[in-house]
Each structure stands twice: as structure tokens, then as C-alpha cells.
Symmetry: C2
Subunit: 330 residues, 2 copies
């Protein structure tokens, strides 16, 4: 377990692995003060939201790295972050905690069922966090919480039937059905781990998952494997493709095709009104959105094409979703 | 328009194009008497359900064939069938009509939006049928009505989150979410018209639709195109594959692979508890169900595998769903 010598020992980071910068967080509007934590494989985002809904002490710190189950190291870190936030803002008294995590999450039971990069299996994270932090804890899946935030405050505001796709190091998704998250016991929305091709192998154990072909991480990795050149992320591969690099163009084209096939399946079967795309790759702008619109229209016929819109809270949507969930407890 | 000279002129049929025979219909249980019509591209199924929920006068008659929009020819036929049923059973006074049709259906608006084999576009079928038949009309999509029947009385009884797949001449699907049909304005559940491969062209205008690769109709067609031999339906191709016919084996294998890919996408994204499979191909039994279970498990990893179960009302599920919908109006 990584020792924590107090809040001073927690290193800040300015960017995460996907190159995302820590942006200002949109205000939640008035409500109960709450602590919010978005725990990822690389970083933990944390903030104290005050009664106006403003994020105080917003920061991103590395997720503790330990062998095996990271549950207790993470709880230690959350405890230290909570203490630091409360010390820095004694006038703001949080009434609840919002905690969101990746992987397969049973939000109703408060359990982290499985997360390959966290090492836990059936971890009762809600109860553990409540005991540790001494406050009621709202517990949810990070991307479903992000989708909730996008629905309440961001790009999915106008749509009751929507899919949120976060394309960064991996690809995560969440479904909104009738204005509510559709969870299927925590198993719904795994668009990143839906098979789209015969390969390559995916760390999840399956092969040809969309994430292994078309995530920002996969695009950079595939370019590196094909050329030996380490690109500065997917955006660099896209720029090289635009500049005439044929290897980069082939990789970007196949990523767009794979994303189009996944969106076409979604459109035919789930038929969302909108697909809200966030994460590092969404910053490719028209190179992503215009191409996906064009290819999706060409791949389908009578189907109702979804509106493709960028996420508005990208990067902080999970943290905002955690705060919104915490307020629902108060 | 096909002239109708009275009920005597309506020809009965014993099988539809998929080879399905007209089986006894499970009782609905007690409730209001209702007329039910399941209008398909080939046949119309019709019956009068009495207060015990027993189907009286159940029959299958050819759908009138006319150039262009078949709406009015079909209304003429429904009127004749209704008159015949009421004449034959004067003691049973229907309180409502259930009418289900294929294609893109906006059940809330009562509109048949589009159906390639019916020729209509934005046809106000509920209102037209109400005027013609003089009774309140419940209007729905045939496969969503069938899924509702399977949920209330058949193979999906135990599951609130389920997908119903009807694999016959084509492939149609419907989603149950939280025990209710999920419609997305009529566009959800088009699993048959989700792209799964680069070809062949599909009559819907897209290419590589699941229906064009793996429906019972496609399996028979593909065998005929590959060999010049006209098989006795998909079941004959499956039997030839089992008997060592390599062309038949390759076609059946690729159909199973395509179905597996669609089910894998469904499992990852929608994560239903169960997939209920009906239609002609479901009668392949273990050759279909055991193979799909094995291939689906091999294709995925942490995902929650759905139970694959045969439809129980197959063939009459749409008609039963129509009757259930009609009773909801009374």
C-alpha cells in the first residue's frame, strides 16, 4: 500500500493519461454541500461543492498504485482528500459524499463488482466509504454518473433517450432510457467491450473489442506498433493522417469504421435520439464528428439517425455526476 | 385492389412462407372479448377472443396483394374477417380490436410510419381501422406486441429486461426494459437491420444487415445461390450441413457467427437477462441454441451472458399480443 503521510504528500497532477486538462467545473446550482470523488485507474478527481454548487479545491491526484486489490489504498486516499478539503473550507459542511468508480458497478447494492484496473471483486465500496468518511455515500458507475451529469447539465439536456460515449484511454458508455440511466444490474453500456472485429486481443479477455481498435489509446498504440514511432497521442496520429501519412490514415480510417459500425448497431437496436461523445478523442472535432455522421448515414437506410453531439462537461462529468448523486441523498 | 366478394371468398392457408403451422393459441385468461389481427407481408392472422380468453375462428389468410400502398385493401380484408367472426359467434361481443403490423410503427400516434412490404408511409392505421370496424383499436408493432405476449404469457415471463428475436423470412426484434416495451418512437429493436458484415445488399437499402446473412430466408437463398439447388428452407440447409455438405456447413457456420456477433453486441450494450428466440429458425433447437450459447460465451469475457430461450407462443405471439393490447383499452 502506498503510504500517505498527510494531505501535503498528495501529489497534484495537471493532466491525465489521455491529455485532458483540468477545466473549470460548471456550477451545479443551489443545493446541499457535498464531497465528490471520481476514482479512475490513473487519477482521482476530488472537490467540495458548496451550497451554490461551486466546486472548491478541485484537483486531480494519482490513484494509489498497489499490487492486487486497490480498495483500501483508495479509501485511505479519499479520507486524506476529504480531510484536506474540509480543513481548507471549514465554512462548507458537506452533507453527503458522491463516489463514482469504473468497471462493473452494482449501484443499487453499493458494490464494485469488477474493475480490471482496480483489482477488486464484489467490493462493498459504498459501505466502506460511509464507514471511513462518516457521511452518507451515493455510489455509482463513473460513466453512468457522467451521463447523468450530461443529461442534467450538459450535452444530453434535450434528450431522454441518449447514449453517452467516452472515448479516451478506453471507451466507456452509458445509456439513458426515458430520461433515466439504464443499468441492467451494472452490465449495460459496455460499448467499448462489444466485439467489432476479429482482433486484436483486448485486456478484458475478449478479442476485437471496439476499445482495442478505436479508443484514443488504441489509435496511438496501433501507430506505435506499425511504425516504431511514439506519437503524441491519438490527436497526433489524426494530424499525421491529415498531413498525408498513409499508415496514420489507415489506422484512423479503420478506427472511424469501427466506431461507425458500433454506432450503426446502436442506432438500429437502441435508436437513441442522441449520442453524446466525450473523452480525449472528442476534441478531434469535425475530423471525428463530421466523419462519423457521414459514414453512419451511408451505412444505414430507414433508420432514425441519432444527433451526434460533443459532451459539454467532458473530463469533469463524472465528478459532477458524483456531486449530483450525493445531493440526491440529502 | 383485390376484390372481396364476402367472407366466403377469403382463402384459408395452413402454413405461411416460413413453414410455420397454425398452432393452438394459449388462452389469455378472463377479460373483455376482443378481435385480434396480426397483419404480415404474406398473411393476416385473425381471431375473436372470448371472455375466457379462448381464440375463436383462428385462421390465417393471405394478405391482399396490390401495387403500391396496401392500406385500403387490408382494411377491406379486416372488415370482412371481422364480419365473418361476428357472424359465426354472435354470442361473443367484442369490445375492442387489437391490430399489429410490421415495419416502423409509432404506436403512440397510431401510425404505420414505414413498411417496405406494405407500401405505406405515415399511414394513420389506428384511426382508419377504428372508423372501418366501429370499435376502439389498440395499434402496435407486430414484434413488440409479440414480445409483450411472450413477457405476459410465454418465454419471457421471468425476465423484465429481455430481447425478443424472431428469425424467420426476416429477422425482427423487440426490447423489454424494466418489464415494458422500449420503442424509441418505433425505431428500437431493428436487430435484423443492424449491419454485421460488408455484404450482401439488403432490400432495406443498407448492406450486410443481419437479416441478409442469417435469417431463415437468407440461409435458404444463400444455399440456392451457391449451389443452384433449391433447399426446403433453412432447416434443410442445416440438415445438409449436419450430413457433411460443405457448402451448407459454411453457410450455416457464417449465419451462426453473424447471430453470435449481434448477440455479443446486445449483451455488451443492452445486457438483457434473456434473449427469447422465435420464428422458423428457432425450431432448429439445439443446433441453434447450443451453438449460440457456446459461441457467445467464447466471444465475450466479463459480460453477463443472457439466458437463450425459445419463444413459447411463436407464430401466434403477435396475435396474442394484439388481443392483450385490445383488452387494455377496455
Amino acid at each position: 500500500m502506498t503510504p500517505i503521510d498527510g494531505a501535503d504528500a498528495i501529489p497534484d497532477v495537471e493532466k491525465d493519461a489521455s491529455g485532458e486538462t483540468l477545466a473549470a467545473v460548471r456550477s451545479l446550482g443551489p443545493g446541499a454541500p457535498a464531497l465528490a470523488f471520481d476514482v479512475g485507474g490513473t487519477d482521482i478527481k476530488s472537490a467540495l461543492f458548496d451550497a451554490d454548487g461551486t466546486a472548491l479545491g478541485l484537483r486531480r491526484t494519482p490513484t494509489p498504485v498497489v499490487a492486487g486489490d486497490r480498495t483500501h489504498a483508495i479509501l485511505d486516499r479519499l479520507d486524506a482528500l476529504a480531510a484536506e478539503l474540509r480543513d481548507a473550507h471549514p465554512e462548507v459542511v458537506p452533507q453527503a459524499v458522491g463516489l463514482v468508480v469504473p468497471g462493473i458497478v452494482d449501484a443499487d447494492a453499493g458494490v464494485g463488482v469488477f474493475a480490471s484496473n482496480m483489482g477488486w471483486r464484489d467490493a462493498p465500496l459504498r459501505d466502506l466509504a460511509r464507514e471511513r468518511l462518516g457521511l452518507p455515500v451515493a455510489f455509482d458507475h463513473d460513466v453512468r454518473a457522467a451521463s447523468w451529469a450530461e443529461h442534467r447539465l450538459g450535452g444530453a439536456r434535450a434528450y431522454d433517450d441518449a447514449v453517452i460515449l467516452v472515448i479516451g484511454t478506453g471507451i466507456a458508455g452509458a445509456l439513458l432510457v426515458g430520461g433515466r440511466p439504464y443499468t441492467a444490474g451494472g452490465y449495460a453500456g459496455e460499448i467499448g467491450h462489444s466485439p467489432i472485429a476479429d482482433g486484436p486481443a483486448c485486456p478484458c479477455g475478449a478479442r476485437g473489442c471496439l476499445e482495442a481498435v478505436a479508443s484514443a489509446g488504441a489509435i496511438a498504440r496501433r501507430y506505435r506498433e506499425a511504425t516504431g514511432v511514439v506519437p503524441d497521442g491519438a490527436k497526433d496520429v489524426i494530424a499525421r493522417a491529415a498531413a498525408g501519412d498513409e499508415v496514420a490514415a489507415a489506422i484512423w480510417d479503420s478506427a472511424l469504421d469501427a466506431l461507425t459500425m458500433s454506432l450503426a448497431q446502436l442506432t438500429a437496436v437502441v435508436a437513441p435520439e442522441a449520442v453524446v461523445i466525450g473523452g480525449g478523442l472528442s476534441r478531434a472535432g469535425g475530423a471525428l464528428f463530421d466523419e462519423l455522421r457521414r459514414r453512419l448515414a451511408a451505412r444505414l437506410s430507414f433508420h432514425r439517425l441519432p444527433v451526434l453531439v460533443p459532451a459539454e462537461l467532458s473530463g469533469n462529468a463524472g465528478l459532477i455526476g458524483a456531486a449530483l448523486r450525493a445531493r440526491e441523498l440529502t
